[in-house]
């Protein structure tokens, strides 16, 4: 199996994995970074969202071999101690129910706000449409993204 050098949350890490292994499973099984969640495996639910060079990407469908030197950010590295405005807003609004999808929601929201720091309600709803929350905490996700935008 080939070796890959990954830059994750500012640290450089070496992993050995098959070329087709999705980044999701490298993170979870090889690197013990389990904050990134498995939901569907086909890039339809957003639970596995991470940032690759600041862009939100579905790690379940991203083979490790396609990454070469880009900077990967996971929920564990979004901020130190959960101080990113999105993470703070998630707490202020008390968004989670079961909580499983929320890392992916926050990663989508943070990448979106970087692109669009002053979004309209409609833009927020559109940006977050790709992430499923089975507990349907959507009202609070929407509100938390608004709060995060205001506090960014």
């Amino acid at each position: 199996m080939p070796d890959y050098t990954l830059k994750i949350n500012g640290k450089t890490t070496k992993v050995t994995a098959d070329a087709d292994t999705p980044l999701l499973w490298v993170l979870r099984d090889e690197l013990d970074m389990v904050g990134t969640k498995f939901g569907c495996g086909i890039a339809q639910c957003g639970a596995c969202t991470v940032h690759i060079d600041n862009i939100a990407v579905r790690s379940c469908s991203l083979p490790i071999a396609t990454i070469s030197g880009e900077s990967i950010t996971t929920i564990e590295g979004l901020s130190e101690n959960g101080t990113h405005p999105v993470q703070e807003a998630w707490k202020e609004i008390d968004v989670p129910q079961c909580g499983y999808c929320q890392a992916g929601q926050m990663m989508t929201a943070s990448a979106f706000l970087k692109e669009n720091p002053n979004p309209t309600k409609e833009e927020i709803r559109e940006a977050m449409h790709g992430n499923i929350c089975r507990c349907a905490s959507y009202n609070r996700i929407e509100k938390a993204v608004e709060v995060a935008a205001k506090n960014s």
Partner: protein, 736 residues
């Protein structure tokens, strides 16, 4: 009528025992709803919490910090926050001095360590308050003894005990003495007006772990030497394994072994009906990806062992039941035949629902390590005690050799009441002689479900002299019928001639509880029908319900759990808050009210039409769940329930063809997403009654409220779910 005394079998005597912790502080072990065994002794070391003799613990440190080991599993319904709130209220400590840990590790003697039926708070209310109040009294008694004064002259608040001279002692300063004194009887509980924590907005206690991606869930659990298993199950209900070729699977990098299994689970045949008791193949790998890839490389041959059922077959069978006369009578008041014979008009409608998968965001998974010494099981399951007994049966092992640990659950919705995935993990671990984590793919999760069964309701009512004189509900369901007191829900007691009849068709499909079982669809059928009856009678739908509810007030029928008064108040609150009947042109309102899981709910949906399709903009919800323990969490539950109800009524489309589900992932199976969600505004009826649950009751009325609004907007009466197929079939498939 509903009893306000929910003390159940709670006995104060010996329900609580204390010890002094070796590292300092006091440990209170207690049993909810149960007395401690006479020989039970709480440990003196916090690392040795003994959940065999106690089912929950409170630790009070010498610094006055309180750790509550929350006794119930957390599936997202908020009990890990709300149950400790109730203890902390009566213990009378400041919430910022309280830390909550998941205490529910081992499972013996748990009276109700089950998350289901929205009952955790209802059953725990009395016992949790008694626990907190008793511990507080012990601290006060200890302080009084120290001062040499009568305990009745002392008060305690926010962790500080004060005597009549104004001297104070913190809880932490008397824990050592308090741990040694006798457990008092007959402690006084607070009056609701004195609550300082109950009724406050308290944030989810796991929020920091969730928002920083800490390991919390079953899928995050790992142990030394653990391997991963991906299981190939029959591709359709009614098929069985004949043979397989695993040479390609074994050639996959990281695949360790391939095992045909099923013999141990077969020992449970007849005891379980939530999984296919049949041979399956486990591919074991050193990573999840290796196991999944290996599974895809298996070549298996299957044979039919039974008829391969399709949705058309189910439809045919259920209609055969509705059209026939083989029913069980579940409730019968008056004389329904006479009412129909004497009617001015008879109205009859049939409502249809599909199967539904649960689709918890965290796919089913479980860890098992079966060794000669013990069986260790870890993961997300709503019924740990049941699992433990099944596994001890499978391996003919003593119950005390089976240890189940619960993790936080990435959703439950009823799916994790059934432990098929854990039984699989146990059998695979035993065969592989390794600690194993079974991980379902989303496809596995949707194809090996314990589905909400397809159901059809036929409701018939008789009208005479402007009144509803008779009501006959017939249920035709796959595998099992409505349970318990559902036949005694509204409109039982409101209509003089009333009957509920049920029949079922036994299918190969595995079915089970799904959030608000039966009522999740029954409420839609019933409230659509009442909307139609109201139209027929020239009345407003809620006005008709308010009139009917007068008939159940003061009922002496003990089976009738819902309250005419409480439902009336709930409906009135919903009408007021939604501006019922006073909305601007272009907004269309629909109403539904439903009692379930001991909670009364009324909802108004506001819709607008866009490009010929209804868009749900707002839902106003009024809820009577008694005292609202944690309004912040309670609203989250209601919002989620309403959106879940709308989402599945609108889009939930799950069909079988030749025994196989036609959608197994989110590319074909549509769940509600952000842009389809209305704003949910929740209001609680204020009263001092014992709290009831909220995980489920918000859901049932939602579909009906939306359907009734669509009727107003379009003139079209929706009788079948999912609505999207009735509105515009071209839009029934996914979206980009």
């Amino acid at each position: 009528m509903e009893s306000q005394n929910n003390s159940l079998n709670f006995s104060r005597r010996n329900f609580l025992k204390t010890s002094v912790l070796a590292g300092g502080g006091m440990l209170i072990g207690f049993n909810l709803l149960n007395a401690c065994k006479p020989n039970a002794v709480p440990p003196v070391d916090i690392s040795k919490l003994n959940f065999t003799d106690f089912n929950a613990f409170i630790k009070i440190s010498e610094e006055g910090y309180v750790t509550i080991f929350s006794p119930n599993p957390e599936i997202g319904q908020g009990v890990k926050t709300s149950m400790p709130m109730i203890i902390a209220e009566e213990l009378d400590v400041a919430w910022d001095k309280v830390n909550v840990a998941q205490g529910a590790l081992d499972t013996k003697n748990y009276q109700r360590q089950v998350a289901g039926g929205s009952q955790s708070i209802r059953f725990g209310w009395e016992a949790l308050r008694q626990t907190g109040a008793t511990a507080k009294q012990m601290l006060v008694n200890a302080a009084a003894a120290k001062w040499g004064v009568d305990a009745s002259t002392c008060t305690a608040s926010e962790g500080i005990i004060t005597n009549s001279n104004g001297d104070t002692l913190g809880y932490g300063e008397v824990v050592k003495e308090a741990a040694g004194i006798e457990v008092p009887e007959n402690v006084k509980l607070k009056e609701s007006k004195d609550y300082k924590i109950i009724g406050q907005d308290i944030k989810n206690v796991d929020i920091d772990k969730i928002r920083t991606g800490k390991p919390l869930f079953g899928l995050d659990y790992k142990s030394e030497g653990m391997v991963y298993a991906s299981v190939l199950r029959p591709p359709a209900f009614g098929k069985k394994l004949v043979s397989f070729d695993d040479s390609k699977a074994r050639a996959v990098n990281g695949v360790i072994d391939v095992i045909r299994f099923g013999d141990k689970i077969k020992l449970l045949d007849g005891k379980i009906d939530f999984t296919r008791v049949t041979d399956k193949i486990a591919v074991i790998g050193n990573s999840t990806w290796a196991a999944m890839k290996g599974k895809k490389a298996l070549l298996a041959e299957w044979a039919d062992e039974a008829k391969l059922e399709s949705t058309e077959d189910h439809d045919k069978e259920l209609f055969k039941i509705l059209d026939g006369n083989k029913f069980d009578t579940r409730r019968e008041d008056g004389n329904i035949t006479k009412a129909f014979a004497q009617a001015d008009k008879v109205i009859e409608k049939t409502y249809e629902s599909p199967f539904l998968p649960h689709n918890c965001m965290e796919p089913m998974n479980f860890y098992a390590n079966v060794t000669a010494e013990k069986i260790h099981l870890v993961g997300p399951v709503q019924t740990p005690a049941w699992l433990s007994s099944l596994v001890s049966g499978m391996f003919e092992r003593k119950p005390e050799e089976v240890h189940v640990e619960m993790t936080r659950m990435g959703g439950g919705f009823g799916r994790r009441l059934y432990s098929d995935f854990a039984l699989e993990a146990a059998e695979i671990s035993d065969a592989a002689k390794k600690p194993v984590k079974v991980v379902f793919s989303r496809e596995d999760d949707m194809a090996a479900g314990t589905y909400r069964p397809a159901i059809k309701y036929r409701i018939k009512a008789s009208l005479k002299d402007g009144k509803i004189t008779g009501y006959h509900l017939k249920e035709a369901a796959i595998n099992a019928n409505m349970y318990g007191l559902i036949p005694d829900f509204f409109p039982a007691g409101c209509i003089p001639n009333y009957k509920v009849s049920t029949g079922n068709y036994q299918s190969k499909m595995t079915t089970g509880a799904w959030r608000a079982p039966y009522t999740n669809f029954l409420a839609f059928a019933e409230q659509s029908f009442f909307s139609e009856l109201a139209e027929e009678l020239g009345k407003d739908h809620p006005t008709l319900l308010l009139e009917l509810l007068q008939n159940v007030k003061g009922t002496t029928d003990e089976n009738i759990q819902y309250s005419g008064e409480r439902m009336e108040n709930t409906i009135k609150l919903a009408l007021e808050k939604s501006n019922w009947g006073k909305v601007p042109e272009g907004t269309y309102q629909g109403f539904a009210a439903y009692y379930s899981h001991n909670t009364h709910v009324a909802e108004v949906a506001d819709i607008e039409m866009k490009d010929g399709m209804p868009v749900v903009k707002n839902v106003t919800v009024a809820v009577d769940c008694g005292i609202v323990v944690n309004p912040l969490g309670a609203k989250n539950q209601v919002e989620g329930g309403v959106l879940d109800g709308i989402g599945h009524a609108m889009y939930g489309d799950f069909n079988f063809k030749d025994g196989a589900p036609q959608a197994v992932n989110f590319d074909k199976y549509r769940l509600i997403r952000m842009q389809e969600t209305p704003q949910v505004n929740t209001f609680f009826v204020e009263n001092d009654l014992s709290p009831t649950g909220l995980g489920e009751p918000g859901l049932p009325p939602a579909g009906g409220a939306v359907a009734n609004a669509i009727k107003v907007a379009t003139g079209k009466r929706l009788l079948k779910q999912p609505f999207i197929n009735q509105l515009d079939a071209s839009k029934s498939k996914i979206l980009g």
